[in-house]
Subunit: 153 residues, 2 copies
DNA sequence: CTGCCTGCAAACTCTTTGCACGAAT
DNA sequence: ATTCGTGCAAAGAGTTTGCAGGCAG
């Protein structure tokens, strides 16, 4: 999904939920969908303020769950007491993360088998799966060999 | 590994690292290894204080990483800004979690394929895997049908 | 004795919330 | 005109840290 259709999807999601289309919510949406990599709530605030300087931190935090619920954004928690977000144009949910501990880069890897695994292991316990997450933390080989992490931005 | 050998392992880990064997550290170890299920730092503090009432919250937080590094404990982060811990008598690292969203129970499931997956996906990126985690969140079927979650303690 | 270890309390980080004002419908 | 949305600042939760005194080796 490219940006313009995504904007319409966001607006219709707001309408469906009886939520108002405000300049702040639109600025936050624009800022989020302009990103090409993972971002934090604080970074999103900065970018949204560049579009509409009235945007507050509170509204960013209140808008993020709306965009996540509409599947426009995915939330990625890698256990750092700091959440990352990224645009989810393909509506993808079966994605694993590989996290480079040297440069903190997060790679997103398609992992469709996660859904199968979730179903399989849940049904044995009398549960219905809601979500899966699979994460691998790793060190950079080239960093160790050459002193430079080749994944660093 | 039962408790007594684990205690020796803890002491020798302390010795190896040049760390001192204090009453507080031992009390925290005893409290942790007496648990049969996941526990939080705060719960560990309570139990450790029942053994030695001089134990402070700070020392619990300072001792947890030591026990984790020695592989006596595993840390389980299910994305709740609150970490869970559990004794790891079998030195197991390839374990997935299934989390019931209705009763918050955490099931630990052996998932040896995680190691293969971590190796496979890391090597393609020029990385050496350090750890894997796989988590499934789910709802209780019997809760939905009967109003009672059969997993609740 | 030396210096690591401790308890205390304050600091810290990220996120959430109460309130009164402001804007979308 | 209503009512939902907003910014601000304070609160909140879990964890970490600086400091002065205490105990292991």
């Amino acid at each position: 999904m490219s940006k313009a259709p995504a904007r319409e999807k966001f607006k219709s999601h707001l309408a469906t939920k009886g939520l108002r289309v405000t300049n702040q919510r639109l600025a936050i949406f624009e800022a989020a969908f302009a990103q090409t990599d993972h971002f934090t709530a604080e970074e999103l605030l900065d970018h949204a303020r560049a579009i509409d300087d009235s945007v507050s931190r509170a509204t960013v935090y209140r808008t993020l769950p709306i965009m996540i619920e509409s599947a426009l954004l995915r939330e990625v928690d890698i256990g750092k007491n700091l959440k990352y977000y990224l645009p989810n144009p393909d509506n993808n949910a079966q994605v694993a993360q590989v996290i480079c501990l040297d440069c903190d880069k997060i790679f997103e890897i398609n992992a469709p088998f996660m859904e199968w695994y979730g179903n399989s292991v849940s049904s044995k316990l009398g549960l219905t799966p809601v979500s899966q997450r699979l994460q691998v933390t790793a060190h950079c080989i080239t960093l160790k060999q050459t002193g430079v992490c080749k994944h660093r931005n």
